[in-house]
């Protein structure tokens, strides 16, 4: 047990590291920033696995050793417990040597006194073994059974976790209002984390985001986030509508779909003359806010790439969903949370050159040449080269003129999608842990022996006993038991 205890503490110590150092699965951005800020320490952390403690070889090794040590402890204990349950209580030789001992004289004959004592003990849920003029009784084996159940349940828990995580996956999907997302390998934007034994088969079910609503109180405190979605079967037929809220996921084909996040997705159109080069909503992201600044006060960033314009054209976009907030921030320096889109405005910086970074969200500007910059409001079109803007449709662009338009703004919803078939096993194991811990902590093993020996007038009832746990409480229980045994023998005479 001492080995298991030390391993348990080591596991706890490892978890402390995992909670203090940013973790790749929880916050990859902070890990990246940490590595930039502290290159040497970051290198050490990376090699030591501190950026992913709970998936690191040493954490898994400690956990494995802990479970191994647990099993080694449990096997002999279980065997012993099974044996002691099957075995009737053992008679004792000298019962007056036990911590609790009492003698009472009763008038009933020894055989009858033993009869009635046996009845009393059985009524009190003791297991009783009877031999000539003597009883051996035992109670509280539930303590050991509970303790064993508690400990074995952790192995079941582990099995459920490994099965569920191993055969399942979890990923995130950004769906823009009006668009449909399909469960498929390519549709998780690289956020998918598959279990080691994942079959690789996706269901093909779809989620059509009808609309997303985020509502706030006047104080800026969020009130509700809800995605109104239509769930689609793999063949495209409707599987019903659902409102995804925080705390209210939807389930289809073993997939659970959760409301995870949201953001702005302005519709951007890049054209050369009348030819549309790029058109559609672009999901924008945000940086981490500096301390004290609300997340929603930050502008949103996105990228549009047009690799076939000249050597390549990349446009960095910065969206202020509320242009009033932008003006206020510029004039007073006060960051203002932007909870709604009110005359949104987008600043653009365009770059020319080879687009080496394949990621749709980032633009590697180190090899690019800065070209132009400007701002485009909702419903307007700008000339990328000159920055001149006009209301969309009010002027026709020249044949070679590159333009950027911002016809409308939509929102996107980030859904977390996961499959975990181990959840029911884990739940059962957790319940068994609780069921086991209660008797393991609160019940106690007690042993009692009774002898009835004839004396001149009647019978001397000799009672001895001891408790392995909760000894002070047993003193009390014992004296009550002795009283009851005496009374039971007296009542025989009366009837």
């Amino acid at each position: 047990m001492r080995t298991a205890l030390i391993l348990l503490f080591l596991l706890g110590a490892g978890s402390v590291v995992g909670s203090l150092v940013p973790q790749i699965p929880n916050s990859p951005d902070r890990v990246a920033r940490f590595q930039v800020d502290h290159p040497i320490l970051g290198d050490f952390y990376r090699h030591a696995g501190f950026f992913d403690v709970f998936g690191s070889w040493w954490f898994i090794l400690i956990a494995t050793l802990l479970f191994l040590s647990l099993v080694m402890c449990l096997l002999p204990r279980t065997r012993a417990a099974l044996r002691s349950i099957r075995q009737p209580p053992i008679q004792a030789r000298e019962i007056d040597a036990f911590p609790q001992y009492a003698e009472r004289t009763v008038t009933a004959a020894p055989e009858l006194a033993i009869d009635s004592s046996e009845r009393v003990l059985r009524r009190r849920m003791f297991r009783v073994r009877r031999s000539e003029g003597a009883l051996a009784a035992e109670k509280g084996s539930l303590r050991e059974i509970g303790s064993l159940l508690f400990h074995w349940s952790f192995l079941l828990l582990l099995a459920g976790v490994i099965y569920g995580k191993g055969t399942g996956f979890t990923g995130r999907a950004a769906v823009v209002e009006g668009q449909t997302w399909t469960d498929g390998a390519a549709n998780y934007d690289g956020t998918i984390r598959e279990g080691r034994f994942f079959s690789g088969r996706f269901t093909g079910v779809g989620v059509h985001l009808v609309s997303f609503e985020d509502t706030y109180r006047t104080t800026g405190v969020p009130m509700d986030f809800v995605s109104h979605v239509q769930l689609l079967n793999p063949d495209g037929s409707s599987a019903g509508f659902a409102d995804l809220r925080v705390n209210h996921p939807a389930e289809i084909d073993g997939l659970r779909i959760f409301q995870y996040g949201f953001g702005w997705a302005p519709v951007v159109q890049v054209s050369r003359g009348a030819q549309v080069i790029f058109s559609g909503p672009v999901a924008f992201g945000q940086d981490q806010p500096p301390p004290g600044v609300p997340q929603l006060a930050l502008p949103w960033n996105g990228v549009v790439k047009a690799p076939f314009i000249g050597a390549g054209l990349g446009i960095q976009l910065t969206l202020w969903p509320d242009s009033g907030a932008y003006v206020q921030f510029r004039t007073t320096g006060q960051p203002v949370p932007m909870t709604r889109a009110i005359h949104p405005i987008m600043f653009f910086t365009s770059w020319r050159g080879p687009l080496v970074d394949p990621s749709p969200r980032f633009l590697d500007t180190s090899v690019l040449q800065r070209w132009t910059s400007g701002a485009v409001g909702e419903g307007r079109t700008c000339d990328l080269a000159t920055g001149a803007c006009w209301r969309a449709g009010s002027r026709r662009a020249g044949a070679r003129e590159l333009t950027i338009s911002f016809p409308s703004i939509r929102q996107y919803s980030v859904l977390q999608v996961s499959r975990d078939a181990g959840v029911p096993i884990v739940l059962v194991a957790a319940i068994l842990v609780l069921v086991g811990v209660l008797p393991a902590l609160y019940s106690s093993r007690r042993k009692v022996w009774v002898r009835a020996e004839p004396n001149g007038k009647g019978t001397t009832l000799r009672v001895g006993g001891f408790a392995l746990q909760r000894k002070p409480q047993f003193e009390d229980e014992f004296s009550k038991l002795v009283d009851e045994l005496r009374r039971a023998s007296e009542e025989i005479r009366v009837s």
């Binding site: 909670s19 916050s27 405190v221 705390n247 609780l434």
Partner: protein, 323 residues
């Protein structure tokens, strides 16, 4: 907020202040009782304590009515509820079950500090819940977590510190068993033949395995304190286990995974392992007594981290900032 709700919020704050001052007064009273052993002082302190508890309960209820929801939706509310439950647990467990009066001042000190920190640094007006917390699991998970925490704070914190102090003193006395002149307290010289400290017939529990012939000191014997600490922690452990499990079920519903090593999850797990270790240590030869108590104390420290460090300082899903 309607004027009605504003008024309720104000009433809640006033009752909170009344409770805080009552606790401070009762704390001083309990310490005075320790020093002078006047029964009347104890009776008065206890009356003030009960008044404080009633006022505190009123503050919590008014807060819930003002916000129109359960009154445990942010750090300020957790802290005040935690303090309330620690005092309540003290009254029920230490005074009610163990019949000891010596530790009231220490339990109240914890409550007073918690409330002072809550009022000074964590106060926010009553408001609605952020969506992440808006689930019926808040009633189950958070109640279990606060109840478990308050019992750990009492058993692993207050009672364990008292045990360690008393144990150190008993060790010292065993090391130098010769009659020793007690230092005068507050200038008064004391009669060594009858130290006015631990009086067995004041309803205090008597130690069973106290080997020193002369009972001394103002605290109950270390064996009694050890039992009190152990039983309180053994009571808290299944509740904490349940809180962690309920939290996992909630996390499965809210975030799509039952366990994600979020800082709060991680620290509640750390606290759990430490107290699991404590319960095992007590059953292992060589770890009983002082070593086990140190483990319990470390668990208390971990609990404080879980509460006061994780939420504001370590970014995670339990920071309750919304998205």
């Amino acid at each position: 907020m309607t004027p009605h709700e504003l008024q309720l919020a104000r009433i809640s704050n006033d009752l909170f202040d009344v409770a805080l001052f009552a606790y401070i007064a009762a704390m001083l009273g309990y310490f005075a009782h320790l020093a002078f052993h006047r029964d009347l002082v104890w009776v008065a302190s206890r009356a003030v304590l009960i008044l404080g508890l009633a006022s505190h309960l009123g503050a919590i209820v008014a807060r819930g009515l003002a916000a129109g929801r359960v009154p445990w939706g942010n750090m300020y509310e957790y802290s005040t509820l935690l303090a309330f439950l620690v005092v309540l647990a003290y009254v029920v467990i230490v005074e009610g079950i163990f019949r000891s009066r010596a530790l009231g001042g220490f339990a109240l000190m914890f409550a007073v500090l918690t409330m002072a920190v809550a009022a000074e640094f964590l106060y926010v007006g009553p408001g609605p819940l952020v969506p992440a917390l808006n689930s019926y699991w808040i009633k189950i998970h958070v109640v279990a977590a606060i109840l478990g925490s308050s019992l750990f704070a009492l058993g692993g914190g207050v009672l364990t510190i008292a045990y360690l102090v008393k144990d150190a003193r008993e060790r010292r006395e065993r090391a130098e068993p010769a009659a020793r002149i007690l230092p005068p307290i507050m200038g008064a010289s004391l009669d060594v033949s009858e130290p006015p400290h631990y009086v067995p017939d004041t309803g205090e529990p008597s130690g069973t395995i106290d080997p020193s012939p002369r009972r001394s000191g103002i605290l109950p014997p270390s064996s009694v304190l050890d039992q009190m600490a152990y039983r309180t922690i053994a009571f808290a452990f299944p509740i904490w286990t349940f809180a962690v499990i309920a939290g996992a079920i909630w996390a499965q519903q809210a975030w799509g995974r039952y366990w994600g090593w979020d800082p709060k999850e991680t620290w509640s797990f750390i606290t759990w392992t430490i107290y699991a270790g404590y319960l095992h240590a007590r059953a292992t030869a060589g770890w009983r007594g002082r070593r086990a108590a140190v483990i319990a104390l470390v668990g208390f420290g971990s609990l404080l981290v879980t509460y006061y460090v994780v939420n504001p300082w370590i970014a995670g899903l339990h920071s309750y900032r919304g998205f």
